[in-house]
């Protein structure tokens, strides 16, 4: 078994576990999930939001590379596009299995209801997939094609619209007070960039590691600064939102915020969202001044933390029973506990994402051309230490 094959054994095993979950979901339908009539959206939706938002974040950083002219970011352009594709497709897989039949996603486009956020999600993310495929294709066969600039510009608008709409799906659910308002579209945009940067750094670091080479410090610093900036914004937004909700006149809002801070969601909120997603990585980034190893550790923690954020906000919106008849005393919280099927599907999507990205690294040229980026061609040719293979 070659070194590469050994590296790929773990994600391949995860895909097999995911397939077992998919088979169980297809056979047993909703019974295979921990969701209920009171909490209809669970971990699979959180997983989908995680993958789709991270794909958008990685794509936005790739676009930043295209338009900013900053060498460190330009070097990430192709890698960002391929990584986005490797995150988006497993994300689609998750939502397809959650729907019970992946073909249902196509039906969304054939029978549109324009007032539905989910319809717009299907539409915008389909365009995103198409634009990504075009960008990835041209990056390999004809990177200097003059139409590519226009495609990239379109893609930037599409990415921002798609990820904000993802937040709007929850904001427009109407009756779930915790999700209402302008907060989530902006919050998802910020945390999408955060998780996209973390995924990009993790991928770049590991692919370099495999060949025993160091990742270019300028790239580490650029991604590290993006992550640190997004953490500060996300932390401020979270603190403000929770503070406002804890003081809110509406009881369900106060109860939801309390569920996060000191209720059944508290352990995941403090350990996952705040600890792994914000405090620890920020400390690692700032104390180590964006050194590669520490920034990589911060990126992995951020990925865990952002997943906790997705799971928290999906659960928080539904956990407080709705008041239908005034005066009826409900249980304090709805209960949702994810099943092995849901965890298996998430593991499968993660494994598929890693495999797809590794395949792209192996098969395609993801490093920027030396002339495009750094003045010193030496440092670019081995940006992440990947062997240069052409298609």
């Amino acid at each position: 078994m070659s070194r590469f094959e050994r590296w790929m054994a773990a994600p391949a095993a995860m895909v097999l576990v995911g397939l077992a979950g998919a088979v169980n979901k297809i056979i047993n339908g909703e019974h295979a999930l921990g969701t209920t009539a009171a909490m209809p959206w669970g971990l699979l939706i959180a997983g989908y939001v995680f993958f789709a938002a991270a794909a958008t974040g990685a794509g936005l950083i790739a676009s930043l590379g295209h338009f900013s002219g900053k060498p460190a970011l330009m070097a990430l352009e192709r890698r960002g596009m391929f990584l986005a594709l490797s995150l988006l497709i497993p994300g689609f897989g998750l939502i397809g299995i959650e729907l019970g039949n992946p073909l249902n996603m196509i039906y969304i486009l054939l029978s549109p209801n324009f007032t539905s956020g989910i319809w717009w999600m299907g539409f915008l993310y389909s365009i995103y997939l198409a634009l990504l495929l075009i960008e990835c294709y041209y990056s390999q066969v004809n990177p200097t094609n003059k139409n590519l600039k226009m495609v990239s510009a379109l893609a930037v608008l599409n990415k921002i619209a798609a990820v904000c709409n993802l937040g709007a799906i929850f904001a427009l659910a109407g009756v779930r007070l915790f999700w209402n308002g302008y907060y989530f579209p902006i919050y998802i945009l910020v945390t999408a960039i955060l998780s996209g940067a973390a995924a990009l750094l993790t991928a770049s670091y590991l692919t370099g590691k495999r060949a025993g080479l160091e990742i270019e410090p300028a790239i580490v610093e650029a991604l590290g600064k993006i992550m640190a900036g997004c953490i500060v914004i996300a932390a401020a937004m979270t603190a403000l939102k929770l503070y406002a909700n804890l003081q809110a006149a509406e009881q369900p809002l106060r109860e939801t915020a309390a569920a996060l801070v000191s209720g059944p969601l508290a352990w995941r909120f403090w350990l996952g969202e705040v600890g792994a997603g914000m405090l620890l990585p920020l400390a690692l980034l700032l104390i180590a001044n964006f050194r590669a190893k520490h920034t990589f550790a911060a990126a992995v923690l951020i990925l865990i933390g952002v997943f906790a954020m997705r799971a928290d906000f999906i659960a928080a919106g539904q956990i407080i029973p709705q008041v239908v008849v005034e005066g009826v005393q409900h249980t304090a919280y709805h209960v949702y506990s994810a099943t092995w099927t849901e965890w298996a599907l998430l593991a499968g999507a993660t494994g598929a994402s890693v495999l797809m990205y590794a395949f792209a690294e192996y098969k395609f040229t993801l490093d920027a051309e030396a002339a495009d980026t750094f003045a010193d061609p030496e440092c670019v040719a081995d940006l992440t230490g990947r062997r240069k293979l052409t298609v």
């Binding site: 969304i108 209801n113 989910i118």
Partner: protein, 181 residues
């Protein structure tokens, strides 16, 4: 054109759940799927306490949030006021379940978030929904608001009524008689 609605006098309900079972029989639902439920409310302080039982089902809202969020238009509203589901169009995204302020949608065996159908197909031919017909205490009255001689039209004029969670702007078509107690 008929305009169907329902009036519920919860003060008459004894909590026997015959309405729920009759509905399950009518639509051949499995035991865990039900289109109407009873909510129990304690009132007063010991020793002067009582329990209200309030039947809850799809309100066939005139401004239904479930319809707005449905990505494929599987949820639709008929001209006679019924909010129904086209099973062929439903993709099972469960957005309607999240958006319904009354928590009345239930996933059926085929992955469609189902709910009360106001017995469409049965009432047009003069039949009564089984939840209405089976109730020993006449808790529910179902009928056509456009017919001034229908029982529901007369009762709605005569009695003081309210709608559940009306502040959410859903404009429900299920009315409740205000309790005198």
């Amino acid at each position: 054109m008929a305009h169907y609605a329902m009036l519920i006098d919860a003060s008459r309900c004894t909590g026997c759940a015959a309405c729920r079972i009759a509905c399950q029989m009518q639509w051949q639902l499995p035991p865990e799927v039900f289109f109407n439920r009873l909510e129990f409310r304690e009132q007063g302080t010991y020793p002067n306490v009582r329990q209200d039982i309030v039947p809850v089902q799809c309100m066939h809202c005139d401004n239904p949030p479930c319809l707005k969020v449905c990505p494929t238009g599987a949820t639709y509203k008929r001209a006679d006021g019924m909010v129904l589901i086209d099973h062929g169009k439903c993709i099972g995204c469960k957005y309607c379940m999240v958006a319904c302020p009354y928590d009345v949608r239930q996933m059926n065996e085929r992955g469609v978030p189902e709910k009360c159908r106001f017995c469409a197909g049965h009432v047009e031919t003069g039949g009564q929904p089984p939840c209405v017909a089976t109730c020993m205490n006449d808790v529910r009255i179902f009928g056509d608001l456009d017919d001034p001689n229908s029982e529901i039209s007369k009762e709605l004029k005569r009695r003081d009524v309210f709608q559940l969670a009306a502040h959410k702007g859903t404009k429900p078509r299920v009315f409740y008689v205000k309790s005198k107690k």
